[in-house]
């Protein structure tokens, strides 16, 4: 019996079919969730991408719990204070890991090989994150919020942005902090990760400062499996290589 859901030739003209084809071409499952990585991905610096993602997960999770209790909850509840502390330290680790990741990618010139959009989405994610953290400080309803608002207003007013972005309007800052800016961060980080998966991890320069060409074979296969001896050397008994070998997906 014929599959009634099987595509027909005329379906290829559909926007949906075209969109699916574009997505499948850009992100085949082997690219989206690869199980191997180039052997040059062997440094602790590669770990900071995934640590940034993990920290962001905790920032969002703890933010959601704080949202459940409302903006004043953590001032009156010891549980709320602890959740707020989790939120604060998640943010601190998020920025620490992200900045190390950014510097690492800078020194790798990770924009090479049509990876410019990967770089740009990463930097813009960082910038939006700065705004998200800033509005978080303004939404605390305590002395820090007051002082930061009264100091920051001058710079923001000087740019003209103070006319529509009022750092002393608690309601406006809270809305930016818990909706607009997190949406921006998550969207940009999502796009960033997709770009990493699409383009892969940037290859090394060659030793004297050009691009490494490791002498791959001409022909269909561009992969070469490490021999057992090479694999053992690259991972077994070497923690750095072991961690690095797990981190290739987080360019």
């Amino acid at each position: 019996m014929a599959d009634p859901t099987a595509p027909l030739p005329e379906d290829a003209k559909q926007w949906t079919a075209k969109l699916r084809k574009v997505a499948e071409d850009a992100f085949p499952p082997s690219k989206l969730l690869p199980d191997r990585q180039p052997a040059y991905v062997a440094s602790w610096i590669y770990v900071f991408g995934v640590l940034t993602l993990a920290s962001l997960s905790f920032v969002i999770l703890t933010g959601i719990v704080l949202a459940l209790g409302g903006p004043s909850w953590w001032h009156t509840s010891s549980t709320g204070l602890f959740v707020n502390s989790l939120h604060l330290w998640s943010v601190e680790f998020f920025f620490f890991f992200m900045v190390v990741h950014l510097w690492g990618k800078f020194f790798m010139a990770a924009w090479r090989g049509k990876r410019q959009l990967t770089w740009i989405t990463g930097v813009v994610s960082f910038l939006i994150s700065v705004g998200a953290a800033f509005t978080g400080y303004l939404s605390q309803q305590n002395f820090d919020s007051q002082w930061i608002a009264t100091q920051a207003k001058d710079g923001i007013n000087a740019t003209g942005a103070g006319s529509f972005f009022n750092v002393m309007n608690f309601g406006q800052m809270l809305m930016w902090h818990i909706t607009l800016l997190p949406l921006g961060v998550v969207a940009l980080v999502g796009l960033h990760v997709l770009m990493v998966r699409h383009r892969g991890v940037v290859p090394p320069f060659d030793r004297d400062g050009e691009v490494q060409n490791t002498g791959g074979r001409d022909g269909a296969s561009s992969r070469r499996e490490l021999s057992g001896e090479e694999l053992a050397e690259s991972s077994a008994g070497n923690a750095e290589a072991a961690v690095a070998s797990r981190s290739g997906g987080d360019d």
Partner: protein, 323 residues
Amino acid sequence: MRRDHSGGSRSFKPDRDVEEFHGAYVPYDLAKEFIVALLVVGLLVVVFAFLFSSPDEAPVTIKSWSMNSPVGFAQTAITELDGTSATANYGPPYNSATPGATQSIGPLSPERWMGVHHPIDTSLDYVIGPLKTLPNRPALDRAIGRYLSAPASMRNAWDSAYEKAVASARFVGGAVVVRPGHYGPVAEMMSALTSMARSGALDGALLSNRQFYQTDYTKPLMFIADGSYLSNLAQARHLQGTQWGMMNETGNYPGQAWLWLYTFWYQVPPIKTSPNGDLEVWSIMMVLTALLVLLPFIPGLRSIPRLTGVYRLIWRRHYRSHI
């Protein structure tokens, strides 16, 4: 002419292009990596939250300010009435006060272009308006009426005399006491406003508008910031701009350390003392930010990673295995 991996014929640039990698691949488990990272970060966050908690110092209110520093409050309040406070002379987006108060770089003055969006008339909003809300105060009502109906020159004379006198005022018996002088109705108005502030009523009066629910604290915060009380508390907590305050927070916490470069420019002469310092710092930061975002396209800057050679450290294992 080398070709980039896309097969194009443009010249190969090592800071822009790569050749396709044909070397070895090794197994790795992305899902496992993410779960391990979650566990590690989760542990770190819980330990730090447990050990260090998070800062939460009580905010300053007009009540707490006027209770702790009644004379300081009265000294600020008279500047709001006579229009000499920082807020009264701020310019956009709060008012269109003193010409030249707005920041500019050459002919560029974005805040002037945007205009007034959060209007504050310090005399009406901070003094006369709140005083008019006090019930059953016929003497005060007469004082306000007298003040408002007096010629401007007379009001200025009363204001100036009281402003000088309150500089050496004392707080005795629950009232701000100034030496005898020709203050007209101003002394009574200031006394009433200070009492109102100390009762907590002024905090509410500055928030009131047509709606019941409030979220905009622009007016009370600007009033509080005009005084030295908030600033002195910040100074003691190392939060002033000259103390790299923009990136600090109360207590021994990291604060917004990622704002270090933004804060740095405020420590650098001549920006440090420039009347246009905020606009200058933001302009510098916007240019630097644009350079960072567009780095992959900027010849010279994009060569820094290759020229500094830090990549040799990052990929040292790779280079070692390809000798």
